[in-house]
Symmetry: C2
Subunit: 277 residues, 2 copies
């Protein structure tokens, strides 16, 4: 595996490759990322994984500084997974003027769900992903469904700005007890780790009710919220939405997604389940 740190070298490498799949990450890789890599290997002849902890998508008081940087371990995992190139630019390479002046501005959805709690987050995601897509020019890019709203924003951005790439969504990887794999799980202490699957259990409960024909979304959301709050969580949101648009779901909607974000101690966890009925 080649480690490339500059845009110029990455482009020179890319120009010689017939088809490329990109997996953008912030590093601290786990099995969830490796599932993205495996999918990427099915999609194209060469696979690029990028590792870049993107300051733009972190708000004030968020964990930009504390976000785990585990370069050597990440390299070993990517090498073993058969990745061709690790693109590992530093901040000066991606933000040479420090300030990013031109940004991709998503519509109102950027201020809803996670966006209501992380102002500027989805602008930062959309902007850095569009930069990475312009740099790598992949045929395909793989994103996890765990970050469902992020996947939605990227899919819609690619359509709306006619970016020449195919976005491939990949199912959420889970631990045996159901907890969605996430770099932030590493922040949990032993007691919190045991408690953490409650988030997914509540999503499953709502999914089962929806599949049984229940359309009283507000009641289902409230019940889950109470269960988590009683167990010591601070719930940011639990919402039933339309799966394809992330708009408010109306009764009788067929394709739904239940999204949640909640904090356990100092760790913010997110998860979601899709429902077709």
């Amino acid at each position: 595996m080649q480690v490339i740190r500059t845009i110029k070298e990455l482009r020179a490498w890319r120009a010689q490759r017939p088809s490329v799949a990109l997996v953008p990450t912030m590093g601290n890789l786990h099995e969830g990322h490796l599932a993205l890599v495996a999918e990427a290997r099915h999609q194209a002849a060469s696979v690029v994984v990028s590792i870049f902890v993107n300051r733009l998508q972190f708000g004030q008081g968020e964990d930009f500084g504390a976000y785990p940087r585990t370069f050597d371990a990440d390299c070993a995992k990517l090498e073993a997974a058969g990745v061709d190139v690790l693109f590992f630019p530093d901040e000066a390479e991606l933000y040479p003027r420090v300030r990013q002046d031109y940004n991709v501005e998503p519509p109102h959805i950027q201020n809803e769900l996670c966006g209501a709690f992380r102002p500027g987050h989805f602008r930062g995601v959309a902007t850095v992903v569009s930069k990475l897509l312009n740099i790598v020019q992949p045929d395909v890019a793989c994103f996890g469904k765990k970050d469902y709203q992020q996947l939605h924003v990227i899919q819609r951005m690619v359509e709306d700005l006619n970016i020449p790439v195919r976005i491939v969504p990949v199912d959420t990887g889970r631990a045996g007890d159901g907890l969605a794999l996430s770099s932030r799980n590493g922040y949990l202490d032993a007691g919190e780790r045991q408690e953490a699957p409650r988030l997914y259990r509540n999503l499953e409960r709502i999914r089962d009710a929806l599949q049984g024909g229940d359309s009283n979304y507000a009641a289902l959301e409230t019940m889950a919220c109470e269960d988590l709050t009683n167990a010591g969580w601070v719930v940011d949101y639990i919402e039933v939405r339309q799966a394809d648009t992330l708009e408010i779901a109306h009764a009788g909607e067929r394709r739904l997604v239940v999204l949640a974000a909640a904090r356990l101690g100092r760790t913010r966890l997110i998860d979601n389940v899709e429902v077709t009925r």
Copy 2:
């Protein structure tokens, strides 16, 4: 010359071409556009001209509806100029959802100079140009210096978002009496047409003063403004700025540009001159 109206066909054509130069236009072509085409032919093996009157960059009360559409005459000129492909999408092709949800948002410069009089204009320009670049994937794109602020926004956008294209600026074409070539010159009646070169004459006068070492920008701006106002113009702005950043120019600045926009009857004309001293 091939006329292509869909993104899909344009991409299929482009995939077979080793190098492509793009000249984005809104049609109603004149010698200024043909100078862009000539430059494009020097830059790449194949030349695409796009014609698209972009609703997004027109404000309320502006001339979107009245903007001259002269498809047959444009085709004849492009054919004669050796253009390979005319890309001529309709609105449903570029804006299939009608609303453009994801936009490229320029920084504060979008609200200065022409931007102060045309709210949303440069967001619309940046967004449609990024769409056209994503669709055509040209190696090179040619833009006229006549729209100096537009050229600046596009050059900075391309850098900031790492869009893989080289932007080639082309000097402003002028009539014998100095008037900058523009589709909007067609709105002028005979008397206005005779009066119109006064704009450029004032820019030349400021340029000469700057080259002579004068750094009293405000006085030079005021003098030109008065000359135009006395002759019946309504001046939007006349400003001396830094050529490379379009920021406010300080005394002693070496690379300057003088930009102006003024209305003669119902026609809004813009022009500029660069000064190196």
